[in-house]
């Protein structure tokens, strides 16, 4: 395991230039997540249209891993349906070694499925940091669950 694998350029880029950073005036679903032990915070807001995320915003503070993960996530989910997001979330968690079992990840072309998010794969060599990478995803799950009526 090497630090270079953890701190890839794309991570540092998302950390320093977070995408979709800010807030949305009338979100359909929102959730705040925090990691009381290390202090990372993430707030997620999404606009939904017939089960599809049409806009998303995140803000928060914390380490490069949690903030980059949030930025990549926000960038990625716009245009995806809630079901697609659920699959993606499972895939990310599997990549982070959080969830066991076959997440339906296309192992031949993982890049095609996860794209930028693949950059988070290095985290699983650093168990202390897995929860940082995971925080935005768990918070997103909560946000989407809160919307389900």
């Amino acid at each position: 395991m090497s630090l270079e694998e953890l701190y890839r350029q794309v991570i540092l880029d998302h950390y320093r230039n977070p995408r979709r950073s800010g807030s949305i005036e009338h979100p359909d679903a929102t959730a705040e997540g925090n990691n009381p032990l290390c202090g990372d915070e993430v707030t997620i807001e999404v606009v939904l249209d017939e089960g599809v995320v049409t806009d998303a915003a995140v803000r928060g503070r914390g380490c490069s891993i949690s903030q980059a993960s949030a930025s990549m996530m926000a960038d990625r989910i716009v245009g995806m349906s809630v079901e697609e997001i659920a699959t993606l979330t499972r895939q990310v968690k599997a990549m982070l070694d959080i969830e066991a079992g076959d997440p339906g990840l296309d192992s031949d072309r993982p890049g095609a499925v996860l794209g930028d998010l693949e950059a988070l794969a290095g985290v699983k060599q650093f168990p202390v940091r897995i929860k940082c990478a995971d925080l935005p995803w768990t918070t997103l799950e909560e946000a989407l669950a809160s919307d389900v009526v």
């Binding site: 630090l3 953890l6 701190y7 202090g39 380490c63 891993i65 650093f126």
Partner: protein, 410 residues
């Protein structure tokens, strides 16, 4: 070096460990210190040869255990220059010691309109218990601010402290900034309005030679595990007349004189505050820890802290875009150094250094109100003790440069 650190290191088995193929550089002693064999073995030996319940046994083994347990109390009393061993109450740690005062004294003496004066650099242990007692009694919290040079700001003390203030509670040494408290001033101001003073000495007692009698405060709380001793034990020192007047927090066995169905009377101090089977082996380990520190000589421990901290502060100052939070004056601080490095989050720093075997802390250090004053979500923190070397500081500095490289910080 003032202490013979190479010899000392041989007493600490864990220091021969390697982490990530690098020698372990342990820079988190403010969280918990490592333990010398002398302490580990004292506890094992207790269990192997003398284990029994204390005080209540009518047989020789129980007398042995009692003598060891009470002997440890005497050692801890001597270590802080208490007037009597009876003024030492063994607790689970600093946190429990402060809760004991909060519930024992606070819940029984405070009323609506009363005030508790804290500082904005307190550890949560010296904030949350008082918040809970305020909720139960209607008392309220007031805070002393922090100066630009990271000390408790006492410039408005006179206007802040009046007879509504019943308790003044402050840390003897900040676990974030290293700042030493303005003891004399706070104790005098509290005395003038008949308030009791509580010193959170979790960092003070391990690092600064202290006479509780000279300190002049009413209660002093500290933890064994931050001074080479075991987890699971700490001490509350209190002035005898206050301990005698104070109600116990916990009820149970061993703390009673008599129990009737609807009311009970209490045993003498300190048993009154030690409900249930106490942490016996832990007390014995605590005694062995203060023996170890006394043999090193606390003046030398302090001199070593100053030397290594001075070196660390000077080396850290060489790193561009690194900010240290805490006083620069060695006389005003202990061996805890908090800092941030450019826009690298402290957790990232910790991970990068961990990769090189260096253990440091990143986070709010249980001092969120202080983080708000400093206007940072978190800091990185290194803290030193008797086994740390100048070479280890050099390793830290090299690790920080590696972090700069990885993050492309100039």
């Amino acid at each position: 070096m003032t202490l013979d650190v190479e010899r000392i290191r041989k007493d600490f088995p864990i220091l021969s460990r390697r982490m990530n193929d690098k020698p372990l550089v342990y820079l988190d002693s403010a969280a918990t210190t490592q333990k010398p064999s002398q302490v580990i073995d004292a506890m094992s030996e207790f269990y192997q040869l003398h284990n029994a319940s204390v005080h209540r046994g009518a047989y020789a083994l129980a007398e042995e255990a009692t003598a060891l347990y009470e002997g440890a109390r005497q050692k801890v009393a001597d270590f802080i220059d208490a007037g009597s061993a009876r003024e030492i109450v063994f607790t689970r740690g600093t946190t429990t010691a402060i809760n004991t005062i909060a519930y024992g004294w606070g819940l029984n003496n405070l009323k609506s309109g009363d005030r508790i004066l804290l500082t904005k650099m307190e550890h949560h242990s010296n904030v949350v218990p008082w918040q809970i007692i305020c909720r139960h009694t209607g008392a309220e919290l007031v805070y002393l601010p922090i100066t630009d040079d990271y000390l408790v700001d006492t410039s408005d003390l006179e206007s802040i402290i009046d007879e509504r203030v019943r308790i003044v509670a402050f840390s003897g040494m900040s676990n974030v900034l290293g700042s030493l408290g303005p003891f004399a001033e706070l104790v005098a101001a509290a005395r003038a309005v008949d308030a009791i003073t509580v010193v959170d000495a979790a960092q003070l007692i391990p690092h600064i030679p202290t006479s509780v009698q000279a300190l002049g405060a009413d209660f002093v709380a500290f933890s064994a595990h931050k001074m080479l001793g075991p987890t699971g034990i700490g001490a509350l020192w209190g002035r005898m007349e206050l301990l005698e007047a104070m109600e116990p927090a916990e009820g149970g066995g061993s703390m009673i004189r008599d129990v009737q169905l609807h009311e009970s009377t209490w045993a003498d101090v300190p048993q009154k505050f030690e409900a249930g089977t106490p942490p016996i082996a832990e007390a014995i380990g605590f005694g062995a820890a203060v023996d170890y520190l006394s043999a090193l000589d606390m003046e030398q421990v302090r001199a070593h802290d100053i030397e290594i901290t001075r070196y660390a502060l000077d080396r850290l100052a060489e790193i561009p875009s690194l900010t240290v939070y805490g006083p620069d004056d060695s006389a005003a601080r202990g061996g805890v150094v908090s800092f941030t490095l450019a826009d690298i989050h402290p957790h990232d720093l910790a991970t990068i250094l961990d990769h090189q075997g260096i253990a440091l802390r990143a986070g709010h250090h249980c001092a969120r109100p202080l983080m708000q004053v400093l206007d940072v979500p978190a800091t990185a923190r290194v803290s030193f003790y008797v086994y740390n070397t100048i070479d280890e500081v050099d390793a830290l500095i090299a690790g920080l440069h590696e972090a700069r490289r990885l993050f492309g910080v100039s």
